[in-house]
Symmetry: C2
Subunit: 256 residues, 2 copies
């Protein structure tokens, strides 16, 4: 079963399209155990209200992939959720493949990659590994931060048609061409979600980060066409992560 279908079924079973970004601020290396415990407790509290957990370097770097994070991935799977690694892969092909090999070996169900690096000796080797292992690949199409206009929003000349095109439109087209399992478009730019949704139709779901701390709104992201909402600090830094996650989940379900 493909990652795309597994995500759909998990979201349906859990009655939630909320993905928890399990991110915490920098901790001194000597506080690693405290950080692991905090991540574990957040996961235990929040899991009934989410469909997946997204990891980033906030945990990989201090805990280590096989020393600490792998145990958290096991816990994610034990409670019936999917585990996504947000590593924004953008290296040369042989390195990308090694990165993918390690993350998939640790148990991740999908990786987030940057299409800017291109296909040949770029992302092709990662798609090859993912297809072989039946894991997912999610493409960055428009990020959630202020400077997203500099790269993702720039106007380019399409190399095939020589026509003027917005960078994120070319990335959305690559998602179709490469048959990605999802794309990322920031909730802080609902008009971009709408445009990308117009290109992808129902073929590829949109994952939308930037809800809460970054200013993105649940209703506008879902109304524009996002399938999954990624929420991090609003939950992880909340005084009551479970309550906050439940509120967000309920609000998202009302918008459906």
């Amino acid at each position: 079963m493909s990652f795309r279908v597994k995500m759909e079924q998990t979201a349906k079973n859990k009655k939630s399209n909320i993905i928890l970004a399990l991110d915490f601020p920098f901790e001194k290396p000597e506080n690693r155990e405290k950080l692991f415990t905090k991540a574990e407790h957040t996961l235990e509290a929040v899991h009934p209200y989410i469909c997946a957990v997204k990891f980033n370097r906030h945990l990989i770097l201090p805990l280590g992939l096989f020393n600490g994070v792998q145990k958290l991935i096991e816990k994610v799977h034990d409670v019936g959720l999917m585990a996504i690694m947000d590593c924004k892969v953008n290296d040369i092909g042989s390195t990308n493949q090694t990165i993918a090999d390690y993350y998939y070996a640790a148990g991740f169900d999908a990786l987030i990659v940057n299409p800017f690096v291109g296909w040949e000796e770029g992302l092709k080797p990662v798609f090859d590994v993912a297809r072989k292992l039946e894991r997912g690949i999610i493409l960055l199409v428009y990020m959630s931060h202020k400077a997203a206009w500099e790269g993702y929003g720039q106007t380019i000349h399409d190399t095939e048609t020589c026509e003027k095109m917005l960078q994120y439109v070319s990335f959305a087209k690559k998602a179709l061409k490469w048959d990605a399992d999802g794309v990322v478009v920031g909730a802080t730019y609902p008009e971009r979600i709408r445009e990308v949704c117009g290109i992808l139709g129902k073929k590829i779901p949109i994952y939308s980060p930037g809800i809460g701390a970054q200013g993105g709104k649940i209703q506008s992201a879902l109304k524009a066409g996002a399938s999954y909402l990624i929420v991090g600090r609003t939950i992880t830094l909340s005084e009551n992560p479970a309550e906050t996650a439940k509120e967000i989940r309920d609000l998202a379900n009302e918008c459906k």
Copy 2:
């Protein structure tokens, strides 16, 4: 003292402008100790012929940043070399800052970042951390793989001047504007090195990967204007890494 000056002095002291990319193929997690030993032995054999060691996810993911790699960084410093982390940073600002905080805390002297992510809430927080800690930042300008034309080689409309411009030219200009400590241009594209060198002059040095295994040539990269050559698999997978590194160092010194 800035990273840029430290690199210059180290290369002068060591009479070498060769940077070892300490990369090895995927190893099963249970073989982590073997991988650590291999990396340690390669470093011990090769250090007299190089000025710096570049790390990538090939070691970070299996060994862990604070579990294994930090010990290797200490060894790199003990033999008077610089340690560069090739993590191609391309996330939102708060995440980039956390990534930089962890890598610098582990002892890295410089990080490689992707200018595509832009400045505000993108790379600015990384430059802020680097300046505070007197560490370096190296910008990707043109990568060494086949598909580099797709992103780095595309034609864009400059957002400030509205003029047509090549992406890598805009990145080289950003390196000047942001005062980066170095840029990366693949040795597989010596004509790009020449163009970028024409933009940067002597202000910012060019780091050139792709020598050997990827097909880049020492002489043509140096003649085109590269200051440092990054060599990985040609040395790490050699039957005699020390001999290979010495040959490459000597050849590079003859080209000066």
